[in-house]
């Protein structure tokens, strides 16, 4: 299947990347090329095959439910574009 400019704009919206109409138009053939190429996977018979979840067999570890880190607020905020009163600051969300 191929995608059009509106689909590109919808995907860009989902990905939170601003695109102009011209940029979206330019992406149409690029993305269609790549998607057309990966679609060849559809011809592989995968009946009875489980999707891979772990590339090397490994078990997920559990640890005790205790605090192992913390009290580093200033370091957490050190790289914030805007930090105020010990918080991350963002534009007003609720009118």
């Amino acid at each position: 299947m191929s995608i059009d400019r509106d689909t590109v704009k919808k995907v860009a919206g989902l990905a939170r990347i601003a695109v102009t109409d011209d940029e979206a138009q330019a992406l149409v053939p690029e993305l269609n090329n790549i998607l057309g190429w990966v679609e060849q996977l559809g011809e592989v018979d995968v009946s009875g095959v489980e999707p891979m979840t772990a590339v090397i067999p490994n078990h997920l570890r559990l640890r005790d439910d205790v605090v192992t880190d913390g009290n580093v607020r200033d370091r957490v905020l050190a790289n914030a574009p805007q930090a105020e009163h010990g918080f991350f600051a963002v534009p007003k969300v609720i009118e």
Binding site: I17, N33, P81, P91
Partner: protein, 491 residues
């Protein structure tokens, strides 16, 4: 006095230990080469003072008899590893100015082993690329030149690492490999590089691209140097849920080029019609070298090989779209806030301005293949084909211990040559991606020069956790290839 920058890691370590030179002399020699090689653009940040501090500590340690495994050895650090107090960008504008407040596990291990940091190495943006042309800080240039004088790619994504090692700006460096990002640049620049089994090296503190594939590894000029470096990078880390809780073997001590009793498989699917005849000829030489080392050669089949690249280009972008959601302009990195913009507009403007074109392309592909209605057709299907690709290797390894293949389908190409066509660029990873999808250890080493005088690489792939087997077969090839060529200095 010998030029210290021509020494290998093992020679620096041993010569320093034996008092032939000081760590400060070594570090100053490499820092001088770096300062004189700006044209190559291999470093994003140079840290000569950090390197000197480590060198002085090594000199003091030698005086007091407390040497560490890498005392006296300065190295380069790919800019994907978070380094406390030193800018880490993944070669993206969106992280420009980001100064980590913590150290990645792999880099911390190297520093505690005594190594010093010469600087942060340039790379493809977020490790997405095969030519080092997607960096926000400019292309890295290979020290090798085409016959017509054109500037060549050092490969990617670890292109700063490969260029710097080949140009004698550092004796070794870290790399990361998601689909070939250590092996392909090593092949293009006439050096060696190893990607260990997935889970050997902690991913903690490495800027994430595709978490089920990302794996740190070593790059250097010799197989022994790779063993030394990797030994000091690997190991269990409770902070990475996919870290393997296994002891780290003594790979250097275990090196042996005697391959008697070993079977090496030659996968027929890696010899497609139209394979570059010079690469096919080098592969044949590799077969002869392995036989000479005592190995038995067997023909094997990896029937799903042709599906590896499309599988990779669904799974890697899908994981990237999820991992890179964290760059929101709130907690770290760049923020773009248009006048009167709300939170959603700020996210979109920040990401539009901060990410490069290839990164945006992959995030969009990943978002699409994970979106409602397409998830099963693309993503689940790719995860199933990945199972089949891994199964191909399992079956091949019932007939052999290791595999020998070329590393890349061509020698280094000119900068700009493939930039216009993303798909042509992706095809460069055709021989490296399958082992990544299966999580297997794999190494590239230089086999010889093509008729244009450019390096070509051979790849050894091993069973899970058999880094020793990979290193040993590579050592046998290295001894027989006798590769000593280096780029003539023009920079």
């Amino acid at each position: 006095m010998t030029d210290l920058t021509n020494l290998t890691v093992a020679e620096i370590r041993d010569g320093f230990r034996d008092g032939e030179f000081s760590a400060r002399e070594v570090t100053e020699a490499f820092s001088a080469n770096i300062a004189a090689a700006k044209t190559l653009n291999a470093f994003i940040v140079e840290t000569p003072d950090a390197a000197l501090a480590a060198a002085d500590a090594a000199d003091a340690a030698r005086a007091s008899g407390a040497l560490k495994p890498l005392s006296g050895v300065p190295i380069g650090m790919k800019d994907l590893f978070c380094t406390q107090g030193t800018q880490t960008t993944a070669a993206s504008h969106i992280l420009e100015g980001f100064v980590p407040q913590y150290e990645s596990t792999v880099s911390a291990k190297l520093w505690s082993a005594g190594a010093g940091m010469l600087g942060k190495l340039n790379m493809d943006q977020f490790a997405m690329g095969s030519s080092n042309e997607t960096s926000a800080f400019g292309n890295v240039v290979s020290p090798w030149k085409a016959a017509d004088g054109k500037a060549l790619t050092p490969g990617g994504s670890s292109g700063g690492s490969s260029s710097a090692i080949a140009a004698r700006l550092c004796p070794a460096a870290t790399g990361t490999d998601t689909g070939g990002s250590i092996r392909q640049p090593a092949s293009f620049t006439g050096i060696s590089g190893i990607k260990p089994t997935y889970g050997r090296c902690s991913r903690w503190g490495i800027v994430a691209f595709a978490s089920s594939l990302d794996q740190a590894g070593a790059m250097a000029r010799t197989v022994r140097d790779n063993a030394i470096l990797l030994e000091n990078m690997a190991g269990f880390d409770p902070k990475d849920s996919t870290s393997l809780d296994l002891p780290v073997p003594q790979w250097e001590a275990g090196l042996s080029s005697d391959l008697r009793g070993k079977k090496v498989g030659i996968p027929k699917e890696y010899r497609p019609d139209g394979l570059n005849p010079e690469i096919a000829a080098l592969w044949d030489k590799g077969v002869a070298w392995l036989k000479d080392a005592g190995a038995e050669i067997v023909d094997v089949s990896l029937p799903h090989t042709q599906y590896a690249l499309p599988t990779y280009y669904i799974i890697a972008p899908a994981e990237a779209s999820s991992n890179l959601a964290r760059y929101d302009g709130v907690r770290y990195g760049q923020r773009v806030l248009p006048d009167g913009a709300g939170l959603q507009d700020m996210y979109a403007a920040t990401r539009a301005a901060g990410f490069g074109d290839e990164v945006k392309r992959r995030i969009m592909i990943g978002t699409y293949v994970l979106s409602a209605g397409f998830y099963d057709a693309y993503y689940t299907q790719a995860c199933k084909v990945r199972t089949l690709i891994a199964r191909d290797f399992e079956q091949a390894f019932t007939q052999c211990d290791l595999l020998l293949t070329p590393t890349a389908p061509s020698a280094a190409f000119a900068l700009g040559e493939k930039q216009a066509d993303p798909l042509a660029m992706y095809l460069n990873d055709v021989f490296t991606v399958p082992a990544s999808l299966a999580g297997l250890p794999a190494m590239s080493l230089p086999g010889g020069l093509d008729s244009a005088g450019l390096p070509l690489g051979l790849q050894i792939i091993g069973r899970p956790l058999d880094e020793q087997g990979v290193l040993n077969a590579s050592l046998a090839l290295e001894e027989r290839a006798g590769f000593t060529a280096r780029a003539e200095k023009w920079w």
